[in-house]
Symmetry: C2
Subunit: 379 residues, 2 copies
DNA sequence: TTGTACGCGTTATCAG
DNA sequence: CTGATAACGCGTACAA
């Protein structure tokens, strides 16, 4: 009712003929309020379009119900889905996400933290930060609860050689398990299992000639390669060739596949580091006159939105993107979560049109691999 | 310095041996402060890691420097880019965006508005709201400044017939110009010009057999169709067939193209409603054994991230996505913008691999259409 | 069951 | 140029 400005609690109290304290209590569901009074207050609040002031409440309670979320960039294919998962779960729990796109710039990451601190954010989620432990370190130093979704990190290229040509040492297998900073929650896609799942799909179809198109020298890439190897060892078909592009740009990956196809014979089957790599492979195959899936089966990992639209549609291992986001929120807000969590989520095989048994319709035995399958590791 | 909780202005004042008023002024760059004092305060603020409390400031000043942004969903291809444009420009102007994904649900849209109001948001941007004028209406009723980016709206299918078979009446041409609610800013991609630009590219290449793959019965779809017609009229080649899918799902668009190709003869050229439709066309062509671009040239509109990854790479008219976002922010925050603005932005032709002259390498005359071209309407 | 009064961290007004 | 001081809207001890 104030002349300029919004209707405040005092206005509402006056309109109801009670004190602001009563209004406050009624609104917040305090049991020490008569049913009649509460209903009257609620009705009147509705009538006069009362909106509580978030700033005033935060100033008073010193808790903000805000979740700061830093993403590298939006539209990065799957990040949007993760963000959606965060938003919905946060909403259910009465929290409001505050998003900040860092574009991978460290100065913007620092600024994001400053903003969050000014806003009294207490919960912090970093989606797919590559490397850069400084951000996380500073966040915990400032007393924030932090969760990391699919945090990736650079890894010495030598480890790739260990997996490809030697034996994966403890350094590799440990990468798959424990994570760095102690007081932070890690919500992570199981890259090793995804690599295995993709590969098993191919071997189950009857393929015996396989290739892996590897990614950049980062953790997820190494682990997916490891999964590739493990599945092949199970099938008694290790080693198989591993392609690695000198640069992560699409053209480079395409070129390395093109070069490989020149000297190869169909039928061939490839598991690509991710869906984008798979797309590069699709293009290379097309240029080289190889038919997918007839001559070359391709399976990707991630299930980005566009995987359904490639030509042919891409068989891939889907990340549970929304769930990753939701679980990060849960980890932060769970009541008695008993310390930092490290959740690892399995992927799901999505079969489209880019894979088939080698050399035409295969044996009936392959039929049971059709349809979506969980990435569980049952023996 | 307080035991529990963050360092406050009072702490900082004490540490400097001045009053909080002085600190406040020094921090905000008030000229009525001696240079020495200001520097001392600034240094100390740095030393003790002082962070102003956004809530307290907002409570006091009643202005929030917050921009509420509602998007349908993230990861929708181009929305991420728009959002990025909003974020960067807002940051430059000292504003902080508050994002809310509505998933197209009206209840969530309403909730978004409630949140914004509670947060004392005064600036409001809706990105690609389809229909639903209620949201905008409520927003202006609540006193927000609102800007709409690429607001689309349902349109009677009869208008499509007018353009396709009859003469586009005033109702159609007006759609291209004025917009509904007066007190809101409209930042819009020029769909008509985009349709023209895509079509001209094809006619300039020498194509004489053209088709349009139309979209759902919404404004943008109608206007792109109109652009298609206009360019063809210029070239003296109107009418040409217009394909319309019964449903907006990819399969449906694919089917309608498949059916059309069955009775058609190459060389053919198609402008698709958007990049996703173009992808559907690519798939249909592939299935039908048509070669792109040899038998069929395809151009899309939007330039979603994936347009560069299709097989072959998709020629398309790019929306200036980041600029759309930035201009919406400008419209809201511009000092003396003299009332609501209606900005219309031109697209840019991006030539990739899905278009070529009909029947092999064409005349040299077509060469001057290579490279990116602005969609300006110079005669 | 309800009212009174205080303080959260800032900024703006008014003195000095 | 600087310092007291009040007020922003709300939640909560304390009193009634």
């Amino acid at each position: 009712m104030t002349v300029a400005g919004r209707v405040t609690m005092k206005d509402l109290a006056a309109a109801c003929g009670v004190s602001t304290a009563t209004v406050s209590r009624a609104l917040r569901g305090d049991p020490a309020i008569s049913v009649g009074t509460r209903q009257a207050v609620l009705d009147m609040a509705e009538r006069v379009q009362y909106r509580p002031s978030a700033s005033a409440r935060r100033l008073r309670t010193k808790s903000s119900s805000l979740i700061g979320v830093v993403v590298q960039s939006v539209g990065d294919g799957y990040i949007g889905e993760v963000v959606l998962g965060i938003q919905s779960r946060a909403r259910e729990l009465g929290y409001q996400p505050l998003f900040f796109a860092s574009e991978g710039r460290e100065d913007l990451e620092a600024e994001a933290l400053d903003v969050f601190l000014s806003e009294q954010v207490t919960e912090f989620i970093a989606v797919s930060p590559t490397g850069k432990p400084q951000l996380l370190r500073r966040a915990v130093e400032e007393g924030l609860h932090v969760a990391v979704i699919n945090g990736d990190t650079e890894v010495p290229p030598a480890l790739f050689d260990d997996v490809t040509r030697g034996r994966p040492g403890r350094r590799v297998t440990q990468l798959g398990a424990a994570r760095g900073l102690q007081p932070v929650h890690y919500i992570t896609f199981d890259d090793v299992a995804a690599g295995r799942l993709a590969t098993r799909h191919l071997t189950a179809l009857g393929h015996r000639q396989l290739v892996h198109l590897s990614g950049p020298p980062v953790r997820s890439s190494l682990l997916r390669l490891l999964g590739f190897r493990q599945a092949l060892e199970e099938a008694g078909r290790w080693p198989q060739p591993v392609l690695v592009a000198p640069s992560p740009v699409l053209e480079s990956r395409e070129a390395v596949v093109t070069a490989y196809l020149r000297d190869a014979q169909p039928p061939l089957a490839m598991v690509a580091y991710d869906d984008l790599s798979a797309v590069a492979a699709l293009r290379a195959a097309h240029q080289a006159g190889w038919l997918v899936p007839d001559d070359l089966s391709v399976v990707g990992i991630d299930d980005i939105q566009f995987a359904a639209y490639t030509n042919p549609g891409l068989t891939t291992v889907a990340q549970p993107k929304q769930e990753l986001g939701a679980l990060a929120v849960d980890a932060l807000l769970a009541p008695a979560a008993a310390g930092p969590q490290a959740r690892v989520l399995n992927g799901r095989l999505v079969i489209r049109e880019s894979t088939m048994p080698p050399a035409g319709p295969g044996p009936a035995a392959a039929a049971d691999t059709r349809g979506a399958t969980d990435a569980g590791d049952a023996p």
